[in-house]
Each structure stands twice: as structure tokens, then as C-alpha cells.
């Protein structure tokens, strides 16, 4: 039996993308495997680790807890979309490098999405607000301290 395919049209990082997907395909699998946007990582696949965080209509969500077909008609932003218009790293990404906000890098795309969403809404967050914003993102390397420092550094530089 072949699975029924559903037509979808999603704006990904500002570009309209069309697809034909089985209903059960998760949004993150579509982004990675069909669009080859492999910056978004798949961790736990059941909504616990936060590695797959993307922006849905500007708000961070877990892309493993959505089916691609549900994104039809919506805007999705991934870590690839964070880069500066000139093509280099964004100020937040630069700050992660400088503050050593990553080691293995697996959680980093999700951390960047969560932190960027925070900075977009709250340009100068407190440490507590930062910890709340990344509370749904697991990191097994850094102990989180440098990630918080990186976000503070990015916020400070935007003054």
C-alpha cells in the first residue's frame, strides 16, 4: 500500500517551499530530508530535548511534535535563517562562539532558535529570563553557564 500524499506550501526562511508529504512525516524530517536543511537537529523525537526547535510564525516550537502537513500555510524559521544578511554568523551566533556556548554542538541550533526568539521579544533579558527561555532545551556538555553568558553578551552588544 502506498501512503497518501498531501500537498503543502510552507514559507521556510522567507522562501516558499512546496512539497508532497505523507501525513505522518514530522516537520523536522521534512526540513532535513526533503529540503536538506540539516541545521535543525533531531534529538529525542518526542518533545523533550529541544534540539529540533524552529520558529513557527515567529514563535519557537518543537518541530518533532508537528507533522509537516500541519505547517501548510505557515512560516517556518530554522537556524539557517538566522545568518546575517551578508551571509556570516548572526550577532547571537558570534556570541556563542566567543563565550564558548557550545561543545559538541548538538543542542546549539535549538538553543540559538530559543535564544533568538527571546531576544526578538525581549532585547535585554535578565539571566532568569534567559534560563526560562532555554529551559526546554537540553545540553549535556556546557552546564548551560556559557550559553547564558553568550545570550547576555549578544544582548549587551545590541545596546
Amino acid at each position: 500500500m502506498t501512503e497518501k500524499l498531501y500537498e503543502i506550501s510552507v514559507e521556510v526562511n522567507g522562501v516558499r517551499c512546496e512539497g508532497r508529504v505523507p501525513a505522518r512525516l514530522s516537520l523536522v524530517d521534512w526540513l532535513r530530508e526533503e529540503l536538506r536543511l540539516t541545521g535543525t537537529h533531531v534529538g529525542c523525537e518526542h518533545g523533550v530535548c529541544g534540539a529540533c526547535s524552529v520558529l513557527l510564525d515567529g514563535e519557537p516550537v518543537r518541530s518533532c511534535l508537528m507533522y509537516a502537513v500541519q505547517a501548510h500555510g505557515h512560516r517556518v524559521g530554522t537556524v539557517e535563517g538566522l545568518r546575517s544578511p551578508e551571509g556570516g554568523l548572526s550577532p547571537l551566533q558570534d556570541a556563542f562562539c566567543e563565550a564558548h556556548g557550545l561543545q559538541c554542538g548538538y543542542c546549539t541550533p535549538g538553543m540559538l532558535i530559543a535564544a533568538q526568539a527571546l531576544l526578538d521579544a525581549t532585547p535585554h533579558p535578565t539571566e532568569e529570563q534567559i534560563r526560562e527561555a532555554i529551559g526546554g532545551n537540553l545540553c549535556r556538555c556546557t552546564g548551560y553557564a556559557q550559553i547564558v553568558e553568550a545570550v547576555l553578551l549578544a544582548a549587551e552588544r545590541s545596546r
Binding site: 501512503e3 514530522s26 518526542h46 518533545g47 518543537r62 518533532c64
Partner: protein, 290 residues
């Protein structure tokens, strides 16, 4: 962990959603935020053959604050409720509880109705619904019916929803007296499932005498549990610390929490007593300064 195959439907109206549920019955499942349903499907704990996606039904997304109650559409995002200052002013328990529900990413997608329909024994919103005596409006192709929270929550992950019904609206009673509320929970990490959660709301008169009280616990049984008789003992008193301790002690005696890898039954009972006492005192103080 990939979900099994299913047929996807995206109704544009509640009537259309109800028609789909009437047609497919128990083979169909409503998907709202999907923050619990999608993991359960990925783990193959549930295998609906049809998903009825209500996310694009705008008629299920609203928040109306009225003198007697706040009416919230079932598909309203948790974050919308959490951020609404006017609502928090009228029904403070909602924001307090939502701060403990998952994380930013899950509240952006998760819905108020979804949390109630899922009815996890440790979930925060069913507890608040029970403590406030919320009214849940269920709709099917044959009509609507209103069910009180205590009748709606029938067991662990079980509700009064029939296979052909969907949740349409939740009415949260607003207390108009001098009111104080408190919500507290203990979990291993903030945002995780609560080991035990407590929600309390009290009203005081001008002499700081309690005129109305309601409190409840989640995580201590198959459903959230409220203690109307014990709360009644507080009415007419000044809710002195000694009485609060007595009531909390009595509440902890009435429950039989389970043991699991996260916490023993004894520890949950201990948390229940401590959290009931703390929320009662905190709610009293808030009402006194209201």
C-alpha cells in the same frame, strides 16, 4: 520513533470537525497542539487511523472575560492565556499554573483544551479546572452539552468526552470577592511533570474572615482531586496557621498516591501536606492584601 500512518483531515469549522468525528468514531482522534498526542503516536501508544486537525479553526481560538467567568476556546494556545494580563487579574490561577506547564516551545503550541482532554493525572490545567469548578462545553454533530470539571475528569487520561465529541469551550468561574490564589508544585526540573501540584483559591471578607475556599492536588491519584469538605472548614475562620496545618494534614490523609521511579507514595503524601499548607497561607496573604 515515527508515527504510524494515518489519514489527515483539516476541518475549517467545528461543525465539519464534528461531522468527521461522527463518521469515524473511535478510529479518529482530535489533534490540537499535539504536544502529548504526537509523542504518544511516535511511541505507538495510540494509533488513530484518522487525525482531525482543529488547529486552523479560528472559531475555537478566543478568550472572553465576562463578569461571571472567562470563556476560553478549546484551541486557544497556552501562551495566549499565559500572556493575558486582564485574564490573570480575574483568574490568577491560570497564569500561575501555566508557568509550570512544559516550556516556552510547548506552550506556544499546546492548547488549553488539549491539556484538559488529555487529562494527565499530574497536569496543571485539569487541577485548576477542578478547583475553580470549570464548565466544559462538549460538542458533537448532535448538539452541545456542558459538563462540570469533576464529571469531565473520569480517570487517568480518561474524560467524559465520547468518541464523536470534541471540546469546544471552557468556562472558568471568576470570583468577585476579595480573592487570593496560589499554585505550587514540586517537579524534578522546572517544566517537568509535577510530582505533586497544589492549587488554592480563597476569598476573605473585610474582617479577613474566609468566605469561600477551594483547593486541590494533582499527581496524587488517577485524576486531580479537590477537597470541598476540608475547604469548608476554613469558611468563617481567619485561616489561622494552626487550622491550615490541620486541614493540610487531613487532606494528605485522604489520598493514596502511587509510588514510581520518581517519588515514593510517602514522599508524595508529604509534598501534598506541605504544598496544601503553603498554598493556603499564600492565598490567604494575597487575599488579605487584595
Amino acid at each position: 520513533m515515527k508515527s504510524p500512518a494515518f489519514e489527515y483531515t483539516r476541518p475549517a469549522s467545528v461543525a465539519e470537525a464534528c461531522a468527521l468525528l461522527a463518521r469515524h468514531g473511535a478510529d479518529a482522534k482530535v489533534i490540537a497542539g499535539g504536544q502529548s498526542l504526537v509523542p504518544m503516536m511516535a511511541m505507538r501508544l495510540v494509533r488513530p487511523s484518522v487525525l482531525v486537525d482543529i488547529n486552523e479553526i479560528d472559531a475555537l481560538k478566543y478568550l472572553a472575560i465576562e463578569p461571571q467567568e472567562a470563556r476560553i476556546g478549546a484551541c486557544t494556545r497556552q501562551v495566549t492565556v499565559e500572556r493575558d494580563d486582564a485574564l490573570s487579574e480575574r483568574i490568577p490561577l491560570l497564569r500561575m499554573a501555566l508557568k509550570c506547564v512544559g516550556h516556552v516551545q510547548t506552550r506556544n503550541r499546546g492548547t488549553v483544551g488539549g491539556s484538559l482532554a488529555h487529562a494527565d493525572p499530574s497536569a496543571e490545567l485539569p487541577l485548576v479546572a477542578l478547583v475553580l469548578g470549570a464548565r466544559l462545553r462538549l460538542r458533537s454533530a448532535s448538539g452541545r452539552r456542558d459538563v462540570q470539571a469533576r464529571e469531565f475528569l473520569t480517570g487517568a487520561m480518561s474524560t467524559a468526552l465520547r468518541p464523536d465529541e470534541c471540546l469546544e469551550e471552557i468556562g472558568w468561574p471568576a470570583w468577585r470577592e476579595r480573592t487570593g490564589a496560589a499554585f505550587m508544585e514540586v517537579s524534578i526540573r522546572h517544566g517537568d511533570f509535577a510530582l505533586v501540584a497544589a492549587a488554592t483559591q480563597v476569598a476573605l471578607d473585610a474582617q479577613a474572615r474566609c468566605t469561600r475556599a477551594s483547593f486541590g492536588l494533582a499527581g496524587v491519584g488517577a485524576t486531580a482531586v479537590a477537597f470541598p469538605e476540608l475547604a469548608g472548614r476554613l469558611v468563617g475562620t481567619k485561616m489561622e496557621d494552626g487550622l491550615v496545618e490541620e486541614v493540610a494534614h487531613a487532606a494528605a490523609k485522604q489520598i493514596s498516591p502511587g509510588s514510581d521511579m520518581h517519588a515514593s507514595s510517602e514522599y508524595r503524601r508529604h509534598l501534598a501536606r506541605v504544598l496544601v499548607a503553603r498554598t493556603l497561607r499564600a492565598a490567604r496573604e494575597k487575599a488579605a492584601s487584595a
